[in-house]
Structures are given as C-alpha cells and as structure tokens.
C-alpha cells in the first residue's frame, strides 16, 4: 500500500492577508505604546484599585443573581407556554410581551421609583382590615431594585430561548416518555429539558455576557457601586477618562473570557450522548489512549456497572 502524499493546494491570498493584518496590529501596538495620552501609568495605578475591585464584585453579584432569577423564571415561563392550561399559556405570553416590550432602562428607573409610587405597602383584605404594613423604601433598596429589574427583564428574553430549546426536541421523546407512564411535568423536567439544554446553553451564555454589560445601566435606579459607575466616578474625579475606560474594558474582557470557559464546560456536559460521542473511526493511537476511558472502543468490553 502506498500512502498518498499529495501536494496541498497553495493559498497565496492567505499569506498576503496575514501580512496585512500583522502590519495593522504592529501599527496599533506602536500607537498604544508611544501615544502618551493613553496614560498607561494611570491604568496600572487603578487596575487593582480597591474601589474598582469592589465595583467588579458588585457587577458580578448583579450579573449572577439577576441571571439566576431570570433562568428560574424562564424555565417556569417556557413550561407554562407549553402547558395544556390556557391560563398558564396566556400569563406567560403577557409576561414576555411586557418585559420584552419596554426598555430595560425604563424598567430600572421604574424600580427606583416604586417607593415614590407606593410609599407604604399594606398587606390585608381589600377595603377590610389591615394586617401589617411597612415602608417600601426599606424593602426595595437600590440593590434589590437592580437585581429584580435586571432579572425580570432578562427572564422574558430567556423564556423565548428556553421555549425554542424545548421545541427543538423531537416529539417522539415526549411520546416515548408518556408511553412509559411518566407524567408530563416529569417528562419535561427529566427528558425534554436536559436535551433542550444543548440548544439553550449557547444563547444563554450570550445573554449572560450581555447581562454583564447591561448591569452598567443600574445607574438608572440609581445604583452606584458597579464597575462602570465607579470607573466613571474615578474618571471624573481625576479628569482622566481614557485610562479609566481602559481599566473597565480590561476587567469586562477578563470576566467575559472566564464566562466563555465556563460555557464550554457546561456545553460539554449537556452534549453528552450526542456531541461528544466518538462515532467516526479515530487514529489508532487515540483509540489505545481512549480505550480505558470510553467503552465505545473496547470490543465486547466488560460492562461497567453504569453510573
């Protein structure tokens, strides 16, 4: 057997393109280094400033908590939308219509004004006795408003993503599970949703990264501890907007990169049985290496007692 050793097709265009990009990047680096108005010394001073680090902390808290609220709500909303119960379907539709139909900035301003609108919240029977009441401003703080405002708005977008994911699962899955006597809610939770996650994760990762930056809108409430607000304040104080913008941008990039790594592993988890299954023949050396890890490659291998 003579192995084919063909001359590959040449791609001169790629080399020219690479050269142009290289020159452009070199010019950019040169300007970054030589243009003193970037004030890299200030960037260095403030990159790990305690106020900035605090701001990152708050930005992360806002992102994480509002996304958790949004995901929980989105699952409920998507299940409601697929329900047999028309009331559920209608409520879910109106929720998405409202929160997707108004700007998140407007919603955040509103959450900041709730205590002006309703200074006291009273629990009791309408026109009847009053059980207890409290000042709204003690309950709806700026933090609460920011988290709830961002979370509710995001839930509408995520609900649509989750709905698309649930719809992407083959109808036969529902039939097979129902034929086994499983109740619909159990089928959704154990059979449909895990498969839908494959479709749901990438856009949800996208939304999480979007949320990281949407948190900068909380000044509408006003919430004043997040990364953008703090770096703006420092910029105004020092009259040096450019280096502080760079500081904020660096941190947003770092966090986004970390989130992308996390997304990779979550995608891998939910792709099991579908994406990361070796079906095509692989190189002999890889087979040998993977033989222990993967039952696929053991011909008539022993049965490991299932996990």
């Amino acid at each position: 057997m003579e192995l084919i050793n063909a001359v590959p097709v040449r791609h001169p265009g790629r080399w020219i393109g690479a050269a142009i990009i290289l020159i452009a990047v070199a010019l950019m680096i040169q300007s970054l280094v030589t243009n003193t108005r970037f004030r890299w010394d200030i960037v260095r001073t403030y990159l790990f400033d305690v106020l900035i680090i605090n701001g990152i902390g708050w930005t992360l808290i806002l992102t994480a908590t509002s996304m958790i609220i949004a995901i929980v709500l989105a699952i409920v909303l998507a299940f409601m939308r697929q329900s047999d119960n028309p009331l559920f379907r209608y409520v879910s539709w109106v929720w998405v219509w409202f929160f997707r139909g108004t700007p998140v900035y407007t919603q955040l301003v509103f959450w900041g004004l709730v205590s002006t609108l309703y200074p006291k919240i009273i629990l009791g029977v309408p026109f009847g006795p009053e059980w207890f009441s409290f000042d709204t401003s003690t309950l709806i703080t700026a933090t609460f408003g920011a988290i709830v405002g961002l979370g509710l708005n995001e839930s509408a977008y995520l609900a649509e993503i989750f709905r698309a994911g649930l719809k992407s699962v083959d109808n036969g899955q529902m039939e097979a599970a129902e034929a086994l006597g499983m109740r619909r809610s159990k089928v959704m939770w154990r059979i449909i949703l895990p498969q839908a996650m494959r479709v749901i994760i990438p856009p949800t990762g996208n939304e999480t990264i979007g949320m990281l930056k949407t948190t900068s809108l909380v000044l509408a409430i006003p919430f004043t501890l997040d990364l953008t607000f703090v770096s703006n304040t420092l910029a105004n104080r020092t009259y040096l907007p450019i280096p502080l913008l760079i500081v904020a941008a660096i941190w947003y990039l770092v966090i986004t990169s970390v989130l992308m790594v996390g997304q990779y592993f979550i995608e891998k988890h939910y792709g099991k049985g579908v994406d990361n299954v070796m079906k095509a023949p692989v190189k002999a050396t890889e087979v040998a290496a993977a033989a222990h890890a993967h039952p696929m490659n053991t011909t008539n291998g022993t049965t490991e007692g299932g996990k």
Binding site: A176, A179, L180, G181, P194, Q195, V274, K307
Partner: protein, 256 residues
C-alpha cells in the same frame, strides 16, 4: 385470567383528524398471550389504531378496553368523562410501546434508558431497577452495551434497548409500531428474534409490521387493514396462503 376473556377489546372505533376520517369503525379483540399482527398499506390507519390503544391519540367514537378498563375515559351514568392526566399515566403503565424510530432518550445510556421509568414512575430503588434492567438487556442480547449511549448503538441495538425499556415497566400488553421499518435489512433479524422470544414467553402483543414472515411464523391472528377498516382477519397462514378479499390479495402480492 381465563383464556377466553379478551385482554384488549376494540369496539366500533372511529378516528378523525379534522375532516380526515382515518379509522372507520374498527372491531377487534386480543386474548391474553395472543400475538395479533396488523398489516396493511401505509395510510390504512394501522399505526393510528395502535396509538389510540396507548392514548397517544384520542378516539372520536367507540370504545377501547384493556383488562376491563375503558381507555381514556370513565363512564358515569352513560356519559363519558375525560380521564385526568394521572389516570391516563396509570393506564399507560400497563401498556408497553415500541416505536418505529426507537425514541430512546439520547442523553441517557442504554441502562439509564431502561431504569428511567421504573425508578421515576414506579419509584423502585435504583439498585433493584438496575438489576432488573441488566436482566432485560441480557435478554435482548445487549448486556455488554449497558453503558453505551444510543448514538453509539446500531439501529437494531437501539430498538432492542427500546424493547427492554418498555418491558421494564412489566406491562401486560406490548404494542409494536412498525418496529423494524427504520432498520437496515441485516439488522431486522435480531429485533424479530427478540420479539419472537417475547411472544413465546406468553406476552400479549399487537404488532403493526410489514414483515409477513414474522406474521406467519409468530402471529396468532393476522388482521389486514385498508382505508380505515378491517378488511379481513384470521389465522395468519390461512390469510397469507388464501386471502379472501381482492384488496388483501393485491397487497400480499406486492409485499411477498
């Protein structure tokens, strides 16, 4: 369980999909331990009939009884009431179903597929369910594939896992909806073999298929359906060798 009392009784069943009249008055009985094979051209309503027995479709008229249970409804003073989801799920537990396209859960291994319903619906312990599942996988010749995902199995292997999954609920009736139609020809034999053994073990089965050989060898009754009606029904050998109706003759001449 008397031999004569039917396990499944289908009386005057009609089914409409919108204006489309798919089943036009089906009557049929299946005794315990009987293997009832249904054949017919595509669009004859045979799959729909099977799906009605398992409540994947709701009948428009008539009655279906499995073990004296009216399927899908309860009758109160001569008036039918829809069953709630809980009762429907309970009825389905007694009936196993095998699909043309297997419909294994792709995110679960073969073993996890088989133990899903026993652990989740019957609330069996994982250990007990696993033990039983491995027995069933052994029975379908796949004990060495327990930890494989469906995508790592051939079509025939997937279908055999699907049979094991349905059997794990210990149903009294098994429905097969063209179980070999989606398989490569060389994989059909293994699946039919498993079904044959199941029939021998005394399982009551209703099988919609194009495998005339299986019908002749394993079937107790052969029903030929066309255009939403039962054209003729009887012992498989008689019908295959001496069909009475010209539509049956025509169909058999095309598939044999």
């Amino acid at each position: 369980m008397t031999e004569d009392k039917p396990l499944v009784t289908i009386q005057g069943v009609h089914k409409f999909f919108g204006d489309h009249h798919v089943l036009k008055g089906i009557d049929m009985t299946v005794k315990p331990g009987e293997v009832s094979v249904i054949i017919g051209p595509s669009g004859s309503g045979k799959s729909t009939l099977l799906r009605c027995i398992n409540l994947l479709e709701t009948i428009s008229a008539g009655r279906i009884y499995v073990h004296d249970d009216l399927i899908g409804f309860k009758e109160v003073n001569g008036k039918l009431h829809d069953l709630n989801t809980k009762s429907i799920a309970a009825q389905r537990r007694e009936i196993g179903m095998v699909f043309q396209r297997f419909n294994l859960f792709p995110h679960k291994t073969a073993l996890q597929n088989v133990i899903e319903a026993p652990t989740q619906v019957k609330r069996q312990s994982k250990a007990a369910a696993k033990l039983k599942a491995l027995e069933l996988l052994e029975m379908v010749g796949l004990s060495d594939r327990a930890d494989f995902y469906p995508s790592q199995l051939s079509g025939g292997q997937q279908q055999r896992v699907a049979i094991a999954r349905a059997l794990a609920m210990e149903p009294e009736l098994m429905l097969f909806d063209e179980p070999t139609s989606a398989l490569d020809p060389e994989l059909v034999g293994d699946v039919l073999e498993v079904m044959k053994n199941l029939a021998k073990s005394g399982m009551t089965m209703i099988v919609v298929t194009h495998e005339i050989g299986f019908a002749r060898e394993v079937g107790d009754t052969l029903t030929f359906m066309d255009g939403g009606v039962v054209v003729e029904s009887g012992p498989p050998r008689e019908i295959i060798s001496n069909p009475q109706h010209h539509r049956t003759k025509e169909f058999l001449s095309r598939v044999l």
